[in-house]
Structures are given as C-alpha cells and as structure tokens.
C-alpha cells in the first residue's frame, strides 16, 4: 500500500499508509493527522480537507473536478495552483511517496 506524507504548517511530517481505493482525506483522518478536519466526512460539501499537493507531484495527482474547482475558491486558507480537496483525491499505488502540505486553517 502506498505511503503518503502529510506536512503540517510547522514543517513536521507525518508518514502514513494509505489504503488503495480510499481517498487521501481518509488516510489523514484514520491516522489522526491534525489539520484535516473533513467535517462532512468526504462528501465534497465543506472544503475542510484542503491540501496543497507538493509541486513535484502535481501532475501525478491531477487537477480538481468541476465541483471541487468551484469550492476551492472558498477554502479558509488561500487557494494555490496546487490546491485540492483531499476527499476528492483517489489513492492508488502510483501515489506512493506523495507529499501534501496542510494549510494553516480549514474552517
């Protein structure tokens, strides 16, 4: 199963195993990674699981879907070109070693 690295705003890293077929948000939540709130439980309803995909991995992860794209305009922390909602990022073996950065605020 792929290993994903969540980097917190203070620079500390959490390395977690993500289940293939789940979503990135789930990997964060089930490993108790702070800073991913996911109030809506992964329904693309709340934009509280916002992450910045590390620039080296942007192409691997791909762009947001249409609904997500609109929602990213209203995240609590600033939107960047690398912004995604982690509940919309499917985990696959190809993402092994992925680094994502957690923004300062989610709500």
């Amino acid at each position: 199963m792929p290993i994903v690295i969540f980097e917190l705003p203070d620079g500390t890293q959490r390395k977690v195993t993500a289940g293939s077929g789940t979503v990135l948000m789930q990997a964060a939540v089930s490993n108790g990674v702070d800073g991913i709130v996911a109030e809506c439980g992964g329904n693309a309803s709340c934009a509280t699981c916002h992450v910045y995909v590390d620039e080296r991995h942007g192409e691997l992860v791909g762009p947001p879907n249409d609904v997500e794209d609109e929602m990213l305009d209203f995240t609590a922390a600033e939107r960047r070109p690398t912004s995604r909602l982690s509940c919309q990022v499917q985990v696959s073996d190809a993402l092994d070693g992925l680094v994502v950065h957690i923004p300062e605020e989610q709500v």
């Binding site: 089930s30 490993n31 809506c40 439980g41 709340c46 600033e78």
Partner: protein
Amino acid sequence: MSTTTAGVVVVGGGQAGFSVVQALRGAGYEGPVTVFADEPRLPYQRPPLSKKAHTEPEGPAVDLVPESFYRERDIDLRLGEYVAEIDTAARAVTTGSGVRVPYEHLVLATGARNRPLPVPGAELEGVHALRSLDDALAIGRALTTARDVVVVGGGFIGLELAQVARARGAHVTVVELADRLLSRAVSAQLQEHLRERHERDGVRVLTGTAVERIEGRNGQVHRVVTGQGPLPADLVVYGIGAAPRDELAREAGLAVDDGVIVDEHLRSVSDPRVFAVGDCARHPHPHAEGLVRLESVQNAIDQGSLVGRRIAGTATGPYASLPWFWSDQGAVKLQIAGLRARTDEVRVVPGDTPERVAAYAFRDGRLVAVETLNWPAEHLAARRLLQQDTPVSPDDLSGSTLGTLARARRATEVRA
C-alpha cells in the same frame, strides 16, 4: 489510570463527545480524560448512515478515528458503559455498573433519541427507525429484499432513506403529516423544488397525510394504513424527529427545557463545572433570538471543540460558529448556511445549471441564511460572507451570486 484523580469526564461517545476529547488533547490538556460511550463500538460518523445502504457484514468504515488515536493520547474510552447518575455536589458520576468517577469538569454530550412512532403496529418486524450503526445495518439488510418501502416523515432522514431505497429499486412512498416536506427546516420556496426532484426520481410523496396504523402478517409488516388509504409495505422506516437525552441532567437538578440549558460558553446555567454540547444542549446564539437547540454535525464538532479548548485554557470567547448543514438526497445535495427565521423574506434564484437553485433569506434587508440545491460553491461563499458578517442586501444579489461577491471580496483582500 487512577479513578481517584479528577479530570474531564465526557458523557457520550458521539461526534460531540469525540470533538471534546480531540480538542482537549489537541490543546495540550494533560489531566485525566474519560469518555463514557453507551454503544460498544468506537465513536463513528452518523451522517453517512442515512445516505447509502449499509450491508457490509462488519459494518462500513465509519469510525471517526482508529482505536490507536485514543491510546496514543491517553484517553480512557469506556465503550458500552453508561453513566447512571451525576452527583454535582460531590463532582462525581456513577456508572451503570456502580463505579464512581470524580470530575473537575463534566461535559454532557448525550445526544438525542428518536421520537417513537405513536401508532398501532409500530412494534412489528420490518418497522425501523435510524440512529445507530446497528439501525443502519438492519435497514441495509432489509433493503436487499424489500419491494415496497414506506417512509414515515418527510424530514432529512426520511428523504435521504427514500432515495437510498429508490436506488435499490424499491417502490417508495413518503408519508408526511405536514402540508410540505421539510416544513420546519427549509423555506417554503425551496420545498417545492425538492418535492419535484423526489417525484421525478420516482418517489411518491403524500403530504398532509397521517399514518393511522401499521398492519402485519405473522408479525411482519404488511401494509401502512394512512389518511389516504392503505399502502403495501414490506419495510417501514420512520424519522419523525428526535428529543434530547437530557434526563441525567434533569435528575441531577440542572436546568433543562427540551435540552440542557447552557450559557454562551456552553456551561450549564445551574453549575459552572458542567458543560453540554451537541444535540442535547439548548444554548444562546448570536444569530438566533432566544435559545436554540441544533441537531447537526457542524454544531456537534464546533461546540465540542470549543468546550475542549476552553477547559484546556486556549479558548475564551462565546460560542458563535455559523450554523451550517447538508443533506444528500439521491442526486440532490441540499445545503443550508445560517439560521432562517419563519418571518424572513426569501428570494429564490436559479443557478447557472438547471440542477442548481439558491434560496436567500433576508431579515431587515440583510442576508441571514442561504439554502442551496446542488451548488456547494454558492453554499461555501454564503458561509464565508455570513461568518465574516459581511452585509449583503437584496440589491447586492441582483444579477449576481454570493460566489461572485465573495470572489470579489477576496480579490480586494489580497490586493490590500
């Protein structure tokens, strides 16, 4: 952990109770933390329970966090153990098994229970309410064979389950006593849109209709007799509201009136050592006149988190989170931001696609709440603007959306 050291005792292992302990440890609280959860399983998410059919034998993956989360943070999670009594004078609780646990701070996060269906036949096999994961699994199992499903109550849970049953190929009828679906929760202007969409999906909707009795054959539900005649049924699910579980507080002598009455810091008005959060709390709110009791995940998370941080010493302000809510009903995503009052003026605006609609509620010429269908971006924009107390008038919305306003405002902030 020694039970003689007083720390924080949380009664209730739902979303609100979990949020308290997550926030306590997250804010650096080092005292003993004990959670009493009457269900014998790890705290889980409830919103998904009514939004899809749960048939996995082990139950779906709805745990809020794994068991290790509690262990690593030294949270004493007592599953399957309930609190029978609170002694506020001695600052201790007594559990169902007679164990006495002292507290420095007590947090009531006891949630709500379903109102029972007050008609003959409600006890028949095949009649279900939904609150727990076990309830959801039982309904999921029943849906594998059910052909005729009657949903009693056109509220959020009922409408979500109606769509779940429809997706399983069942014939579904929703029976609602009031003249409209979601009559209390959603503006009249949006209710018609919702009804249309459910009917378009093949859900039959009977409003202004009472259930008189449920009839069975061999103990199994057979039909539902309504004011508009009998409906065949091999599964009945009902969702006709919930009542707060406030009896522990009442028996302990704390002020209770359809919920534990708390102040703006979510502290019992009778005892500053006791907090109440989530579905069981009746509280003041800057967006409401008088006291309100809100049944939503947002409210459970935000109230739990505030109380956890307050006890830990990192939060001081009153509870003022903007209420928001969502309900996924088949292809319909309904979202609500803010608190609408019955007297607010509501304006419905079609969105940029046929699926999207927004209803904007104004009070004294100022936007106070927004209901949207299938328009999460507009919902989020509403939350940002309402949270920041940005005044929005009906004129501001002429030919514009909140999304446009919020984007413009954000652009201004970035330039400034």
